[in-house]
Assembly symmetry: D2
Homo-oligomer: 347 residues x 4
């Protein structure tokens, strides 16, 4: 069976990456691509790298245009998905790459986003430990999926195994992320200009204000933490794509090095897309460029009494579009790895 697909927000970065990956998916037909202000343009005018899709024209993002497809991807600015979901009742599967359906707590929504609260959908990170099993199980029967925030899933995957195994203290997690500016989308803001960002490291959302914080806390609570607290600082660095999250937490009293390492090894031993590197090795973002892979290295620092997990993710691939398509594959009962590269494009 071939599933018909519509992708909204197709002129943006998340939409473009969804299309790049779907273009090689044998079980889907990309029938419709939509955008807002660029409706009427050729897709390739906004995504010049998608040469295999140069026959497609952007249509307006309306419920009517999106209706009538088996699968609909919403890659819209936060707060805009809700208006479409009611009208798309007929779609077998809707996947929202935005934040609208991620949070289960209306208080968190109000504190970090504001505006109308939407019901939470099944969270699209298959490898997350949730109540002793993997989130994959919930995705198998999902028809509405909330793809994760790229930074959020990177940090959650970094710490969930230690939290679930009880080997770390989740009340004092610290994470600092080197991130590429594609994570901020194609919105045109002065501080995102190339001349501003090249040759520089630029922090933002310092001090507990980033919107991915409640999403991480929610995931770590699901993994077993009672009161997860996260000091979260993203730093823009001069690479178009990529997240390198350095996340640490105090170790629980009395745990051995082997117990700590074992928590992560056990959690990800059989995961094709979340891989723990051997001791003493740490990943680079370029190792996962374009890939649906989260690469992780773990160090135990007894002097500082912290376990340090360094995780590399491509924010657009595994961080957003890859997670969305991996979740789609699971929900459709397809091979989970279909169309998802595991090897990065390096150097």
């Amino acid at each position: 069976m071939t599933y018909s697909v519509a992708v909204s927000g197709a002129s943006g970065y998340a939409g473009g990456e969804i299309l790049r990956l779907l273009a090689r998916h044998p079980d889907v037909e990309i029938r419709t691509v939509t955008a807002h202000s660029s409706a009427g343009d050729a897709l390739v005018d906004h995504q010049p790298h998608l040469r295999s899709l140069r026959h497609l024209t952007l249509q307006p993002t309306t419920p009517e245009v999106l209706a009538g497809h088996d699968i609909v991807f919403l890659a819209l600015p936060h707060g805009q998905s809700g208006q479409y979901t009611d009208a798309l009742g007929g779609a077998s599967l809707i996947i929202d790459a935005g934040a609208d359906h991620r949070l289960t707590s209306e208080d968190d929504w109000n504190a970090f986003y504001g505006g109308l609260f939407h019901e939470p959908w099944t969270y699209g990170v298959p490898e997350l430990l949730v109540d002793g099993s993997k989130q994959r199980e919930r995705l198998a029967s999902a028809t509405r999926i909330a793809a994760p925030g790229c930074n959020a899933s990177t940090v959650s995957l970094s710490m969930a195994p230690g939290v679930a195994a009880g080997v770390v203290d989740a009340t004092d997690i610290v994470t600092v992320l080197a991130v590429g500016p594609s994570g901020a989308g194609k919105a045109v803001k002065p501080h995102l200009l190339g001349a501003e960002l090249m040759g520089s490291a630029t922090p933002y959302a310092v001090g507990g204000t980033h919107r991915h914080i409640p999403e991480i806390q929610q995931a770590l609570r699901a993994a077993g933490a009672s009161d997860p607290r996260v000091s979260f600082t993203p730093v823009l660095v001069p690479m178009a794509r990529g997240i390198l999250a350095t996340t640490s937490a105090p170790m629980a009293e009395g745990v051995t090095d082997a117990e700590v390492r074992d928590a992560w090894e056990t959690a990800y031993a059989n995961e094709p897309f979340v891989q723990l590197l051997p001791e003493g090795r740490f990943p680079r973002t370029v190792d996962v460029t374009g890939a649906n892979t989260a690469l992780m290295g773990l160090a135990i620092d007894r002097s500082a009494n912290r376990v340090v997990v360094v995780t590399a993710v491509d924010n657009l691939a595994k961080g957003t579009a890859g997670a969305a398509i991996q979740s789609m594959n699971i929900a459709l009962g397809l091979d989970e790895a279909t169309a998802l590269p595991v090897d990065g494009v390096a150097p």
Copy 2:
């Protein structure tokens, strides 16, 4: 009076930056530049940006060549300074940009460097709080100065005010640094190739192994901490120069936001080269490129119970060569700011 100067290691990055700054210093004459394997070459063959010094030829780094100058800068690989210092007894002032004379603890030296331990010299970070005063006072009478490690001084300056004021808990400091590869020097190693580092974030020395850790602990003890512990993770990012250190520590129980912020404001209120930005503002590395300035932003995250200090430094300028020359100015009784730019080269 014009002081005669010799700079060893003149073909490397630290040596080059010392020369770039000294070239505009009205009170010194750069008489001698030395190198190891490139002795005999024109300086400008190795430092093509130093057009004003194109008349200089690299001489061999030997005690004989370095002797007979008022001031000698040693910008040599760690472990090589010691052999020269005895022979240079006549120099009024020797400044070592390497690590050999930084640590006061032989145990620390053995644990992180190894090889012969050298006596500690006066530490070249004038703005550091030491026993209730500034290190500047000690530099005023110094004749032997150890310039700091670039990452170490960045982190130490970030946390010393909070430690000295007792508003942070120094036993759980976490710092993650986005750093440019010039900090690794001109040594030719595969992982430092441009093709490897461009478009990527690359962690190294993860888990408590970086040599700047004991130097930070030493500085924080001098600032008043009894048992400073630091989780320290450097990440190479694609910018030639710069350090952006995101450093956080738990807040001491009961302190108010105002007390926290006041600690830093008071410490650096009158410092020309260490500046705290207004609330809600954070620095970029490009703001201090080429400058002797450390720019700092501070946030208080009550949810995570941490104060977060983000500090931008040019690793070669304020991080090494600028600190060395600022210390020299103090030791010579000159205006401390002579030849030291406060404005960065941006964008």
Copy 3:
């Protein structure tokens, strides 16, 4: 049928890219990977992005190890392929990614490379116009293939249509190429350090000395030029991969704009991997990152009397490894596009 494959030089950039593409090829089995000084290491220690091949160990590059495979890729430094080719008589197909078998003129070889001259093999650029047909026809029956130089094929593809159609004067071609440093390989040289190349544009081989010049002249002679001359200047710029070649030539007297444009349109109308963009559009290197695609834009400048062709190629993909595998597919009678991405990884 599944073909067994050996890849030598597997620790380098060209070898790594061959493996990245072959890993998704359904008709080959990567049985053997070899290297020189890193023999014995895991492949993934040197190619950490090739997660799907983490079971492979590097073996020594010897004729014995390479023997017994259906297909052998040689990705060795120039001058080293020759010693293996005799010993590999049994291989159905040998593809050399080095220069040893590219040039047909021993004089050119001596002038630009030196050392032992080797017999020319079938040149691996299927889309090149050769004597009125495409090089693809020659590749269909090839058993020994010389993959092109990345800069050479980029410039040759840029100008061959105009040369073949007689609409440009090939005696005064000028090309300037912005190139990423991965084209220089993993050899560790000071001027290729990240700190040297970041934030800078660095010319090299200025003034007619680059080794790809005779290769371009050879291709343009094959396309019909009697005395092709090329002013060729490569400039290293801060991107790991990519070539953007700006190539221009005087227009032949009396030709119309339509005739000029038509030469390129006709030549590449049905090519999946060499695409001419619509008038007024020009490619970026990121549009073809990781892809086997050459994207081309063409402008006619009547004031300067030049046709200007701007071509973007991924030096490792279409420039080397992609060309090699595309040629392999042709030689084996497989679908020419197998395992070769047409869409780039952008942004």
Copy 4:
């Protein structure tokens, strides 16, 4: 005497660089900085690297605010300078960093810019050969100065010596420039986003449409060419600042290599800010970052019959602000080099 200075467009890149250099000028007082939409903000909110000017507030750009200063710098978008110049009759010296007063030909203005034509001012490139002398002589008595286009002056300086000496054929000049995006200003356009430009080379204005072309032709006519023609292609590359122009022209019949090289050597032998490198050496942009220096390398390619000149310039420094201040120094009778760095900030 201290001159009072006003800088308009102070929130932009050209204005920022003028201020960075003026801040260290002993003979001027920066009294007024103006901007358009950001009037009322602190200067340092828009130029966070100008820490020494953090006491300044942006005032609105009006004739009234700019009036009453000895020297006025106009760093405004093209077409906006004219409205101020009448009202500023009292200023001893006005320097326009925009294009309004550069071109002497109204036809050129209409063809490349359009809108009201303004009278040409003295062109601010002191080292240019004009009618057998240097432009410096004209600047000595100037009161209205047009600072050059950064690309234009780079190419003009590259070719003027050969043109003036009659050793090159100016009817077939080809130049391709690797340029940093700060040259495009702070205007917020999607194609200038960091995510778009990082890791990529991006051509623009291909095929004879760039506005700096008539400015180059004008300069080369002044140097002695009767019909200069220039194929001009700029390529954005991932560095914030810098121009590396590779410019070539056919050599005149019968000239010797020595005659060619001598033309450039003679022209720039005594210039502090335009320097020809020794044979076989070529400049990198980083060698002149932040400096008022144009570094040049020259190669003679007899096979292609072209002389190739590679010139590195910092587009904001020597390309714009440095040229403006150098011209100001000359016009005021000060030491021409005052406040102008000759050494670049590298690496």
